[in-house]
């Protein structure tokens, strides 16, 4: 590793920590925006004033804001995200730990489905640029981009569950229960819903890059040698056309998390989305705070990783730093 790389890494890490600190301040100040007294929210109305005062004392609600923030941040750094204020008042961190794998599975599966469908579609579309198939695919992907994920999910449920009866509606099977097939059977439809928008995005971007690549001389040479179109597309054109797609993978992460949240709520899956939506509608702010913090952390770290690895994927960006 050269000195420049180390310096870049250090700067990136410093920025990362700064961003996370600001996010944590923002997340913490949700409590400040909270209307009403948290003590009343926890105990419910109708208790003697001394009970509220005692709870406020116990929760440290009477301390100055800075003290409370530092106290809270200290807990967070030790993995203690507080307790839910809605019964059953479990620990936030243990709930997050049980919810996170479900969301991660849906998101990863959705991304895979999107890639598996988008790459052949884009290749077909780009190879027959301007043809009927290309026009149908382009119009279709543009249309799909205008369908919000909750609407797409409802339509898929209508079609696949209610009309065709191919998939079960709910009752999530955990991966840890060992029933991989049952788990996939339940996860497929939510993952497909999440995949739809990404699929449209990926197809459009990859198609655009492929069309440019297919005009290159070496493609013409391969064609002149009589290579099969499929071989040219897969072996020669795909790799140099996929850089924008890789960048897009990072950019689509935020949208992916958003649609995963909605889809989990829609299919009643026990993931982060259901957790955070239910907590939000009950005003259970410690759970929301914990979930937002964890999601932001994952989001920022993955994005930073993609930024950094980009130099390794695309040699052209590497030369600039050397």
């Amino acid at each position: 590793m050269s000195l420049a790389t180390v310096r870049r890494l250090a700067l990136g890490a410093a920025e990362l920590v700064g961003v996370l600190l600001i996010v944590s301040i923002g997340v913490f100040s949700l409590v400040v925006l909270l209307p009403g007294d948290p003590a009343v929210a926890i105990l419910g109305p109708g208790h003697p004033p001394s009970a509220y005062a005692e709870l406020r004392q116990e929760l440290g609600l009477d301390d100055p804001l800075l003290t409370r923030y530092l106290h809270w941040l200290g807990g967070v750094l030790q993995g203690d995200l507080g307790r839910s204020i809605v019964p059953p008042q479990g620990e936030v961190s243990s709930r997050l730990v049980s919810a996170l794998p479900v969301s991660a599975e849906i998101a990863v599966l959705g991304l895979l489905i999107a890639l598996v469908i988008a790459v052949p579609l884009a290749m077909w579309s780009a190879y027959r640029e301007g043809g009927v198939v290309d026009r149908i695919i382009s119009a279709g992907t543009f249309g799909v981009l205008s369908v919000p994920s909750f609407l797409a999910g409802l339509l898929l449920i209508w079609l696949m569950v209610n009309s065709l009866g191919w998939f079960p509606r709910s009752e999530w099977v955990r991966l840890s229960e060992g029933d991989l097939l049952g788990n996939l059977h339940h996860a497929f439809l939510p993952a497909l819903t999440v995949a739809l928008v990404e699929l449209a995005m990926f197809t459009r971007v990859l198609r655009g890059d492929l069309i440019v690549t297919l005009r290159e001389d070496y493609i013409l040479a391969a064609r002149a040698k009589g290579m099969a179109p499929l071989r040219i597309l897969v072996a020669d054109a795909l790799r140099p056309s996929s850089f924008s797609l890789v960048t897009l993978l990072g950019l689509s992460l935020g949208r992916l998390i958003g649609s995963t949240v909605i889809v989990e709520y829609l299919f009643s899956l026990p993931g982060m989305g259901s957790l955070v939506v239910n907590a939000a509608s009950q005003g259970d702010y410690p759970v929301v705070q914990g979930a937002v913090l964890v999601i932001a952390f994952i989001y920022v770290v993955i994005n930073a990783g993609i930024d950094f690895s980009y130099g390794h994927l695309d040699p052209r960006t590497r030369r600039v730093h050397a």
């Binding site: 920025e15 949700l30 205008s146 609407l151 949208r255 702010y285 932001a296």
Partner: protein, 344 residues
Amino acid sequence: MPDIAPRTRTAFPLPLLYAAAFVVIGLALLVYGATTTALIPPAKVLLALTGLGLLMNGAARLGKAWAGPDFDIVFWFAAAWLVLLGLAALLAPWLPLAEERDVAATVTEPVFETPTFTGAHPLGTNGFGLDLLARSLHGARSSLLISLSAVLVGTVVGGAIGLVAGYLRKTLDRAVGLATNSLLAVPPLILLIALATVLEPSLRNVALSLALLTVPSMVRLSRATTMAYTNREFVVAARAMGAKRSRIMLRELLPNVLLPITSLAIVMISVLIVAEASLSFLGLGIQPPEPTWGNMIAEGEGRVFKEHPHIVLVPGAFLFLTVFAFNIVGEKARRRWDPRSVKL
């Protein structure tokens, strides 16, 4: 000398006659497919879609003959939809619509009536006998009001911050950059949900949360554009002539920053409409009885959708068409005003 072929003109433009016939037949099929009661639903849908296809094809040919080969029929359809919807939403309280909110007034109305495009309830009614057309138009009212005002506030605030930060640079720019990155560090919908946890779900609060969502990308675009223009000749000349910083920002830079920002704003409108609808769908946005597309779609959850698909399909169609139309218009604006692709 370019090769110019002499154009042969037929005495009567036969293709135009075909195009006009397409429009007429398409329109007839569309209306018949939508309103007939003699056919089963799939056949109706097929008929209506065929009609729509013919109509679009014919209209595209007519348009191209009239306005040249650059005529974009989809764009005009999108623009027409937005204008119509905007007018209907604006005038909704004064239009002769059935009851959209008060369930006490609809005790005698039929419930779950399917859309027939005719009669007292052209788009049907929901489980309380409330009229879906009226609800959809009132939903458009709040949806458009929220997203347009949010985009306006977000664009003005974000654009101004980006302009100042991009021109003055130094510490201010670094602080703004860190704040922007921190806002972007929380995925949009998660940010909205977090704010919805603590804020009262009123029209104003939802609009403000959505405005906050638009600020960071606006700051980025405005800052980048400002920086690209700061060293151009006319800015340097203005500075050399002793123009004040405020004058350079307002008279030299702002006009150039305005166009790219406007095209991003149009794209943002559709993003915000979806975000608002998602929030209402999750039950965290505008609350019933106030109708919005999101909470209307949420009414169809579970068995209701299976038995009465129009409960979801009617507001879903409004939502889709509006988002689609804003995307088409936004795409066109972006191509015209901002050649560099804008990353949201």
